[in-house]
């Protein structure tokens, strides 16, 4: 696997734009290295979880329309 692409302030600017989050230049500078660390760790977890395809997130619904009690 090649060296991963770093998250730069330009990356943060694009993500923030997509999220509709206005960020000034100094915020972009501040956030880029921190997001780089966080996303690197999150990507590592993604890789681990890819090996566990059978594991599902636990989402619980109460089907009250079918007579199930609310919580």
């Amino acid at each position: 696997m090649g060296e991963r692409a770093r998250i730069t302030k330009e990356t943060v600017a694009r993500l923030a734009e997509a999220a509709g989050l206005p960020l000034t230049e100094d915020r972009l500078e501040l956030l880029a290295p921190q997001l780089d660390d966080l996303v690197a760790a999150a990507n590592e977890l993604n890789r681990k979880m890819a090996e566990r395809w059978e594991t599902t997130p636990t989402v619980q619904f109460r089907h009250t329309e079918h007579g199930e009690e609310r919580s």
């Binding site: 999150a42 590592e44 681990k48 636990t58």
Partner: protein
């Protein structure tokens, strides 16, 4: 004989019921103590002294007339500032919600009131509970009663500091990634993170919905069980609460630890921590073994990865709650919380979902291990109290580490898995700063946590020591 505010809840309850101690005298002693020391530790955002005394007088009248409600009747308690009480400002330690007055009680506050507890004030905290230092930029930093140059951890820093300083007999905090257990350990008090769904979050200002829970903080394990009895249980106002029956959490306090199987995950929980913390927690495990517990080494295959999963979930969920304020009033947040909220908007959806899948995996591995052990014991956090305002911490080899990742290293495991966890004092470091262990249990088995914690406190005296302020 010490001052009235120095008694435990169990002692006070006995004295109040028998007429030896008046709720008014006890409440006044707590208010005097707050007046005496709170300018040094800044645990309170506001104190409702007159109201507390009024309730105390009513309690005294009731009890004299024979209407004793139980062990919390007439007991002064304080609540973290994100737990709503009708008619009282609750800001969650923020500027954004300054002046916010709830018109409804949270369910936990309502239950404490029904049990006759006296709510004396609002406790300082990390802004919106999003951080572990309680260095609050709007209300000032909370300070550690054992050394006021040191932090009280957080986010329920005011809760931990107020109980340790004998300002109140018990407090409520909230715990998402460790916010009850961390300040409990760092201030030398007892705190529980219950099984997720055991306690109502109704009218509690959220941090991360899928991990938030209210917890009790006290000086002793027995007191904690008494308080927990009052707040645990299903709440029709909170759909996420469970209908699993509640126990009497005091019922097995005196059973002892003989035969209890204690799991230890040495290759995760004892590899990267300060020597004083290592020695204190290992010493506690040895003590339990000498009392008849059996110690079992356990491997949890996927335990590494929990910090990233926690940071991802604890970033994305708060950022969705704060989305509008972050766009309209960003400058009203403290710098650290603003940064975390901004970062939380920038993760990908797949990161969040993989983190949620990881929770399922980690939980299944712990549930499997509970076939062989009854509880796990580990440190609550890998270091003792750092200087107020520090954003980094040195754990070993003179290397500075980011505070947030370091502080949630051990508390994140119960938070992600939904398992209950009890923080119990188990020693002091070379500078006289408290160390706490975590006892982690099966879902809805708080009873065993209290049994083990109380068994430990019956043969140790860490919990009887008080800071000199």
């Amino acid at each position: 004989m010490g001052r009235a505010n120095e008694v435990t809840i169990a002692q006070a309850a006995q004295q109040i019921q028998s007429g030896q101690l008046s709720p008014v005298e006890l409440t006044q002693a707590c208010l005097d103590r707050i007046e005496e020391v709170d300018d040094k530790i800044n645990a309170f955002i506001s104190v409702q002294g007159d109201q507390a005394l009024e309730v105390a007088r009513a309690a005294e009248t009731q009890i004299r007339a024979g209407y004793y409600l139980g062990p919390l009747h007439g007991i002064p308690i304080a609540l973290k500032d994100n737990i709503s009480v009708r008619g009282i400002p609750n800001s969650a330690g923020s500027k954004i919600l300054r002046g916010n007055v709830s018109d409804k009680d949270s369910t936990v506050a309502a239950r404490l009131k029904q049990a006759g507890a006296i709510l004396v004030g609002r406790l300082n905290m990390h802004e919106f509970a999003w951080g572990g230092t309680s260095a609050n930029p709007h209300y000032g930093p909370v300070r550690n009663p054992w050394n006021t140059d040191r932090f009280p951890a957080g986010s329920s820093g005011g809760s931990g500091a107020s109980v340790a300083a004998r300002e109140v007999l018990g407090a409520l905090g909230t715990d998402t990634g460790g916010s009850v257990r961390l300040p409990s350990a760092i201030n030398g008090v007892v705190g529980i993170r219950p099984t997720i769904g055991r306690v109502s979050n109704y009218n509690v200002i959220p941090l991360a919905w899928s991990m938030d829970t209210v917890g009790t903080m006290t000086r002793t394990v027995a007191d904690n069980a008494l308080m927990f009895n009052t707040i645990a249980g299903h709440d029709p106002k909170d759909e996420s609460t469970s209908r699993v029956p509640v126990d009497d959490y005091t019922s097995q306090l005196n059973v002892g630890v003989r035969g209890i199987r204690v799991g230890v995950v040495s290759d995760y929980f004892f590899t990267h921590l300060q020597p004083a913390v290592h020695n204190a927690v290992r010493g506690a495990i040895d003590t339990l073994e000498s009392e008849g517990a059996r110690i079992e080494e356990v491997k949890i295959e996927h335990i590494h990865g929990n910090i990233s999963a926690q940071l991802t979930i604890e970033s994305a969920e708060p950022s969705s709650y704060h989305q509008q304020w972050l766009r309209e009033r960003p400058e009203e947040y403290g710098e650290d919380v603003r940064t975390l909220l901004e970062l939380g908007e920038l993760y990908l959806a797949t990161h969040y979902i993989q983190a949620q899948r990881y929770r399922t995996l980690l939980r299944s591995e712990f549930l499997e291990a509970f076939n062989y052990v009854d509880v796990f014991i580990c440190p609550t956090l890998p270091f003792t109290a750092t200087p107020v305002g520090a954003m980094t911490v040195v754990i070993e080899n003179d290397e500075e580490e980011d505070m947030l990742s370091a502080i949630m290293q051990y508390t994140g495991v119960p938070s992600l898995t939904g398992l209950p966890s009890l923080a119990v004092p188990c020693g002091f470091d070379q500078d006289g700063l408290p160390v706490g262990m975590q006892i982690i249990g099966r879902p809805f088995d708080e009873l065993t946590l209290y049994r083990v914690g109380h068994g430990y406190q019956q043969v140790t005296d860490w919990h009887t020591r008080a800071p000199s302020l």
